[in-house]
Symmetry: C2
Subunit: 185 residues, 2 copies
């Protein structure tokens, strides 16, 4: 999301939430997003929007990052849904447990299953990227932006990208796009 906003030159104010102590979420997010998840966007006129994929779509539709063709648009969404269903719950969650929770031991017995799921997600990404430069068509789209976030920091969760050469090449490709800015996902 920050990557897209930077690419599009859209200014925003960022307010961070504690990802360990979530006790203030009902107070801060209650009126904005019933699911109490981050990110939650508040537009200049006060209207809220939740879910990273929906926020990406809001800003991306009508730009070069969302194609006009109905099938290609749906493919962009396919990979964004894949990110939320398969990649985030495995790769981002393991990374959080291992590197950010402050108590990785508490999650030790749940890590192997999620690591396996993360490797299945990386393998799916690898199959998709074998022989093509970007996730949808042959251009840089919202799908690449959405998937780049947690994939490029997967190593922080202990994921080894060595077996996924097409994924590694794609990460380099995204990072060398004009206007790319470093993000920590």
């Amino acid at each position: 999301m920050r990557l897209l906003l930077a690419l599009l030159g859209i200014p925003y104010e960022r307010r961070t939430m504690d990802v360990v102590d979530r006790s203030n979420r009902p107070e801060v997010l209650g009126g904005l997003n019933p699911s109490l998840r981050v990110p939650t966007l508040v537009l200049d006129d006060g209207r809220p929007l939740g879910e990273s994929g929906a926020i990406l779509w809001y800003f991306g539709e009508g730009t070069r990052f969302v194609p006009d063709d109905p099938y290609e648009r749906a493919q962009v969404l396919q990979w964004m849904f894949f990110e939320q269903y398969d990649l985030e719950p495995s790769i981002a969650v393991v990374r959080f447990w291992v590197a950010y929770s402050g108590r990785p031991d508490a999650f030790a017995d749940r890590i192997p299953e999620r690591m396996a799921a993360g490797n299945r997600a990386l393998a799916a990404l690898e199959r998709r990227l074998e022989g093509q430069q970007y996730l949808v068509g042959d251009w840089y789209s919202l799908a690449d932006i959405a998937l780049y976030g947690y994939t490029h920091v997967a190593h922080e969760g202990g994921f080894e990208l060595e077996p996924y050469p097409a994924v590694r090449a794609w990460l380099d490709r995204v990072a060398s796009e004009p206007g790319h800015v470093p993000i920590d996902a």
Copy 2:
């Protein structure tokens, strides 16, 4: 998805996959969807599309089920991403374990956490639907279609809808929409 296709009168051929024995997925789905998930759609011209949310969007865009306003469109996607991230992995998964896996005991130790997550999802849905008829705006949209699927069979997983009166009223409202057809999710 079947509900949307019925509402739009779009004919399709359905091929079912075993949800317990998944060993034939690489063979059947390998060339169509790198994530090997169902549903995977194949268009008449042979092009494949994965992820239920992407398939819904493909058929829904341009119909009365997807609004024209950019903010409302993004809200529809917000609830579709919520469904895939919060509701499906809890409510649909518990229902599968309890009612369809053939070996509920094998999942017994993982059920309480997913039941809690499912109730958090239902509570989020309840907060959203308090005081409004549908998830986005005041009309029946793709968001309602996407969320109805597993919510209306949540009881099969042991979820009790008694604490969620707005959700129950909304389920009745969706089921009485013109053109509604019974689906088993």
